[in-house]
Amino acid sequence: MMVTHSRMRSLGWAAVLMLCLGLFVLLSLRVHAVRSEVLLAERQIIRLERETRRLETEFQARANQRQLAEWNRVEFGYEAPRADQYLDGERQLASLGQPRGPDAPAPIRVARAEPAGEGAGAGAARPRTMVSPLTGKPVTLASAAAAASADAPSRFAEAFGDFLIEASPIRPARAQVQAGAPGDAKGSAQ
C-alpha cells in the first residue's frame, strides 16, 4: 500500500496525540497518587496533633500547680529567693571576682574532697540527710531509726505488710529493706 505524504503526516500527528494522551493519563494517575499520599500524611498529622494535645493535657494535669506545691512541701523544699540572692547588675557580678584592694592577698580557697571509699561502690554519692523543709534542720524519723536496727525489714513487714514497704516515703528505710543488708546506711542513688 502506498502511503502518501499527507497521510504519513496525519498518522504522525495521531501518534503524537496518542503519546500525549498516554502521558497525560500517566501524569494524572501520578497526581492522584501523590494527592492520596498527601491525604494520608494529613491524616497522620491530625492524628499526631491530637495525640500531642492529649499528652500535653495529661502532662499538665499531672504537673498541676497543686501537685507541684505538694511535692515541694514533701520532697524539694524550694523557697522563694531572698533579697541578698540578687545582684544589681553586671558591675556587682564583676566585683565578686575583684581583689578586695590593691596588693590584698588572694582569698584562701579550700577544696573539699569526698571521703575516700564512701560511695565508690555503686558510684552513688552518700545520700544527704533528710532536712525539714520548714526549718532546714536535719530530722530523724522514728521509722528511719527503727530501720537502722538489724531486724528492721522483718519487723516492718510484720507490722505493716509488704505493700507498705513499697509505699513508704522514707527512702533510707525502704532502700535498706530492698537491699536486705541491715546496718548499711547507704541508700539508693538519688
Partner: protein
C-alpha cells in the same frame, strides 16, 4: 481484520473439515495437501474446477465447509470482541478510579484540628481549659443488624469481660443492661487504653464513640474564674458560672475558637495564692477564704481565689454551695480596712493637713452608744498612730469632720455603691446605705461598718489609693498596653503618695507587721469586723481581712485576703483578729509571687517615710 480472517479461518476450517473430507471423498479425488499452504488455492478453485459434472454430494460438502468456516469466524469474533470489551471496561474503570477517584471524604487540616470549643489560657498561654477528645462506652444492639442476638457471647460473659477492664463496674447490672437490648451508655468516659481493651473483646455492639469533652488540667485551680461546662439539650457545650459563661459565644464561634482566649490570670500566682490561703484557712479553722491579686496600673486580676472550691472536671451536687465566689459575690463589712480610705478622703479634702496633729482618742458617744478602741493606746493619737493601731475613735472623728457628703462622694467614685466591675456573671450588690447619711452612719462607715462590699471592691479601691489616685475597673481579660482603660481620678497624686507612706508604716509599726515580707516593701491594713447575721453582730464570729499593696515605693500589685470566721488556734496564737491570721498569709504569699511578677526583693529600697517616722517612734 478482514484481511486476516481467511487466514484464521483457514486453519480452523481445515482442522474441522478435513477428517470428514478424507472419510467421504471417493477414490480418484485428491485431497488438498495439508499444511503446505495450497489449501486456500484449492478451495476457491474447487467450485470453478474443470470438471463440469460434479456429483451433488461434493457441492454440499463445499457449502458445509464454508458454513462451518463462517460460524467459526463469527464465534471467534464474538469472543475477541468480548475480551476487548472486558479489557475496555477494565481500562475505563481503572482510568475513572485514577482520575475521578472516589477519594475519601476530605477534611481540611484546619477544620479537623479546630476544637469544638475554644481553649482558655492564662496570661502566659498555659491552658486552663481545653477541648479534649474523650471516649465513651456505648452499647448499640443494632450494630450487627442481622436480626439475631446483638452479642456474640452471652451478656454475662461480656459483662465479666468488661468487669476485668473496669474493676469498679457492677457486673450484674451491666449484664442486665446488655440483655435488655436497649442502646445505652455503659460508661460515659473511658481512657484510650480502656477503649483498646474493649475493642479486643471483639463485640461489635460495644462501641467506643469519640466525644468532645472539656478538661481543666489544673483541676480545682481557678475554678471560680473558669466555671464549668454542661451539655445543653442540643448536644453542644454551654458554659456556667465563670468565664466559660462570659466567653460562651466566643468559644463556640467557628471563626474565633481556633485562637485561645487569654485571661489576665497568672497560673503560678493563682497556685501560690490558693496554696497559702488554703493553709491559712486550715490553720485557723475558718469557714472560707477569699483572695485577689490585682495589677494596680491596669486593673487586671492576676489571681482570684475563693475557698472552699470545686472541681470543674467533675461537678457534684455537694459542690453547688462551693460555687459561691466569695471575691465577687459575697458582701460583708470589711471593717478597719476602710480606715485608710477615710483618711485618704480626708487628706484629699484638706480635712487632714497636719499628720502630726493629735486627735482625741477617747471613746465616742453618740446618743446612748459608746464606741471605743479595740485596744487603748492613750488619749490622743496622731494619724499614723491611729492607722497603725487601728483606732476606731480617731477614724470616727476624722469621718465626722469630713462629713457625710464628701465621704459618700469618694466611696461612690470608688464604685462601692454598685456591683463590682468585672466580667464574671456572679456579682453581688453591695449593702449601700440609702438616702441621707446620719451622723452615726457616717461615723460607722468611716471605719468600715454599716457598709458591706465585696473583697474585689476593696481591691480596686486600694489600687486607686496607691497607684497615684486613678480608679480603673477590674478585668479578667488580658489587656495589651494600648487597651488599658484611662480610668477616673479619685485621689490627688499627692494624697496617693502620702497613703503609700502611711500604709507602709502600718506594716512596719502597726497591726500589719506579720505581712512585712523582707525586701518587698509591703504596706497594708488589717480589718477585723464582727460578722453581722440578721442585723445582730456576733461577738465570736469575725471576718478578718488584710488589704495590702507592694512594693510601696512604686506599687505594682494589690493583694486582698479575707478569712470567714477564723478561730483562735495554736497557729494564730489563739487570736482571731486579722493581724494573726490574714496578715501572715499575705506575708507568706508576697515572697512567693513577687519574683514571678517581676518584683525584685531589695533591702536597700523603700518608700521614704523619714518625714513621718518620728511620729510613730516618739510614742515608743
Amino acid at each position: 481484520m478482514n484481511v486476516q480472517a481467511p487466514g484464521l479461518g483457514r486453519g480452523f476450517g481445515s482442522g474441522i473439515g478435513e477428517a470428514g473430507l478424507q472419510r467421504q471423498l471417493p477414490l480418484g479425488f485428491e485431497p488438498a495437501k495439508r499444511g503446505a499452504g495450497p489449501a486456500p488455492k484449492a478451495l476457491p478453485a474447487s467450485p470453478q474446477g474443470p470438471q463440469p459434472a460434479q456429483p451433488t454430494g461434493r457441492v454440499q460438502l463445499v457449502s458445509l465447509r464454508q458454513e462451518l468456516l463462517l460460524t467459526a469466524r463469527v464465534r471467534l469474533l464474538v469472543i475477541a470482541l468480548l475480551f476487548a470489551a472486558l479489557a475496555g471496561v477494565a481500562l475505563a474503570r481503572l482510568g475513572w478510579l485514577g482520575l475521578a477517584g472516589e477519594s475519601p471524604a476530605r477534611t481540611s487540616l484546619d477544620a479537623a484540628l479546630l476544637p469544638d470549643r475554644g481553649e482558655i489560657t492564662d496570661r502566659n498561654g498555659v491552658p486552663l481549659a481545653r477541648a479534649f477528645d474523650a471516649y465513651a462506652l456505648w452499647f448499640n444492639p443494632r450494630a450487627m443488624d442481622d436480626g439475631g442476638s446483638p452479642l456474640i457471647r452471652t451478656p454475662q460473659e461480656v459483662a465479666a469481660g468488661l468487669k476485668a477492664i473496669f474493676p469498679e463496674m457492677n457486673e450484674a447490672a451491666t449484664a442486665r443492661m446488655l440483655a435488655s437490648g436497649k442502646p445505652s451508655y455503659l460508661r460515659r468516659r473511658i481512657l484510650p487504653e480502656e477503649a483498646n481493651a474493649v475493642f479486643d473483646l471483639g463485640e461489635i455492639a460495644l462501641e467506643t464513640p469519640r466525644e468532645q469533652d472539656r478538661h481543666y488540667p489544673q483541676g480545682k485551680l481557678a475554678a471560680h474564674v473558669l466555671g464549668y461546662v454542661v451539655e445543653e439539650e442540643d448536644g453542644t457545650l454551654g458554659g456556667r458560672v465563670g468565664m466559660e459563661q462570659v466567653l460562651d459565644d466566643r468559644l463556640a464561634d467557628t471563626a474565633s475558637r481556633a485562637d485561645p482566649a487569654a485571661l489576665s490570670i497568672d497560673l503560678r500566682v493563682q497556685g501560690a495564692l490558693e496554696d497559702e490561703m488554703r493553709s491559712g484557712m486550715l490553720a485557723t479553722d475558718a469557714l472560707g477564704a477569699a483572695g485577689v491579686v490585682l495589677d494596680v496600673d491596669t486593673g487586671e486580676v492576676v489571681a482570684l481565689a475563693s475557698l472552699p472550691d470545686f472541681d470543674p472536671n467533675r461537678i457534684a451536687r455537694e459542690d453547688v454551695p462551693n460555687m459561691l465566689n466569695r471575691v465577687t459575690n459575697q458582701v460583708s463589712e470589711l471593717g478597719s480596712t476602710f480606715k485608710p480610705l477615710t483618711v485618704a478622703a480626708a487628706i484629699d479634702a484638706g480635712v487632714i493637713r497636719d499628720l502630726s496633729r493629735d486627735w482625741d482618742a477617747t471613746p465616742v458617744e453618740i446618743g446612748r452608744r459608746r464606741l471605743s478602741d479595740y485596744s487603748d493606746k492613750g488619749d490622743t493619737l496622731n494619724i499614723p498612730q491611729a492607722l497603725a493601731y487601728s483606732s476606731n475613735t480617731v477614724t470616727m472623728r476624722v469621718a465626722d469632720k469630713l462629713g457625710p457628703e464628701r465621704l459618700k462622694r469618694v466611696l461612690m467614685d470608688l464604685h462601692m455603691h454598685e456591683r463590682p466591675t468585672i466580667e464574671l456573671p456572679a456579682r453581688a450588690l453591695p449593702f449601700w446605705p440609702k438616702g441621707e447619711w446620719s451622723r452615726i452612719r457616717t461615723l460607722t462607715v468611716g471605719y468600715g461598718h454599716g457598709i458591706a462590699v465585696t473583697p474585689l471592691h476593696l481591691a480596686t479601691a486600694y489600687a486607686a489609693m496607691v497607684n497615684g489616685g486613678v480608679w480603673r475597673p477590674a478585668t479578667l481579660h488580658k489587656l495589651d498596653a494600648g487597651n488599658v482603660p484611662r480610668g477616673k481620678r479619685v485621689f490627688k497624686a499627692s494624697t496617693s503618695a502620702r497613703m503609700r507612706q502611711l500604709l507602709r508604716m502600718i506594716a512596719l509599726y502597726g497591726t500589719g507587721r506579720s505581712a512585712d515580707a523582707e525586701g518587698y516593701r509591703v504596706g497594708g491594713k488589717t480589718g477585723s469586723a464582727e460578722k453581722n447575721s440578721g442585723g445582730r453582730y456576733s461577738k465570736t464570729k469575725l471576718i478578718s481581712t488584710f488589704a495590702a499593696a507592694f512594693p510601696m515605693d512604686r506599687p505594682r500589685y494589690v493583694v486582698v485576703v479575707v478569712l470567714d470566721e477564723p478561730r483562735g488556734t495554736i497557729a494564730s496564737s489563739y487570736q482571731r483578729t486579722a493581724a494573726w491570721n490574714a496578715a501572715p498569709i499575705v506575708g507568706r504569699l508576697v515572697p512567693r509571687i513577687g519574683p514571678m511578677l517581676g518584683v525584685r526583693p531589695d533591702d536597700n529600697r523603700d518608700v521614704d517615710i523619714s518625714d513621718l517616722r518620728y511620729l510613730m517612734e516618739k510614742a515608743r
